[in-house]
Amino acid sequence: MKSENKVTFSVDAEGKDKEKEQEETIKETGSTTVENPRGNIHCLTIIGQIEGHIVLPPQNKTTKYEHIVPQLVGIEENRDVHGLLVILNTVGGDVEAGLAIAEMIASMQKPTVSLVLGGGHSIGVPLAVASSYSYIAPSATMTIHPIRMNGLVIGIPQTFEYFDKMQERVVQFVKRHSSTTPEKFKEMMLKTGDMASDVGTILFGEDAVKCGLINEVGGLSQALEKIYSMIEEGRKKKAGEQA
């Protein structure tokens, strides 16, 4: 414990020195060093399963929505953060938690760009389309398939209706935030031949762009360039309004 204390004090002392240095720079030159003159971005990585109302067993890698949702509030509120980069490599997860995060990202005022790497499957699809502009790596895939369940079912017509309604929430969200149509999206969900023991479609990078889900095929540099240009546009607009 003693050694831990020592480490903290030295960090604190360094932090104070840095603050003093910054204060002096402001006094002498009237300015301070901004970390990046083009704007500061917050990078949010969404990986593994989206964990919702049920805590998943420890062998799953999870992204917990109760951490992401307030973090997004913090990002939107923080003056030092100018844009959000969402990096996705997810296998899906809880429908409500996924939609909650997607709605939060979609309703942010700050520029948001998403980049799908590896995979953006199932409930990862609404997460990928939620941002203002989306990219997908050429080798990344997105699986579009119906919501399903297994085990004992009591009241089949009611259960079917309930699942259909849950699925409709996903379809409608994707419709609102991408240029694909609900008919086309549902058609992809129920396609046979793509998957061995299931219905659905596996989209590769370019296919996801062709069907209107994702804006462009790209990687890190394109995503960063896009977010910085969006920040710049926002600044110009603000300056124009003030003038």
Binding site: N5, Q49, K64, N78, V91, G93, I147, V170
Partner: protein, 71 residues
């Protein structure tokens, strides 16, 4: 309701595994849920109404409680 490409039995396969017991404590003026490990208390969940605290690197999930900063 889970919508995933991973089969349900794989997701919930090892559901008998017990989670480490958790407890609440105050840390840096916020309520945190922690689990005790060999290296000290590890943050498992942050409960705060201040959005700024969710961006604080010391309060992220997986960080260890630093006793000198405990409120």
């Amino acid at each position: 309701m889970i919508h995933s490409i991973i089969p349900m039995d794989v997701i919930f396969g090892d559901s008998n595994a017990t989670l480490a017991p958790r407890q609440m404590m105050q840390y840096k003026g916020q309520s945190v849920e922690v689990s005790q490990t060999e290296n000290g208390y590890k943050i498992e969940r942050l409960m705060s109404t201040d959005p700024k605290s969710y961006l604080d690197p010391a309060l992220q999930v997986g960080c260890f409680v630093n006793y000198s900063q405990k409120a």
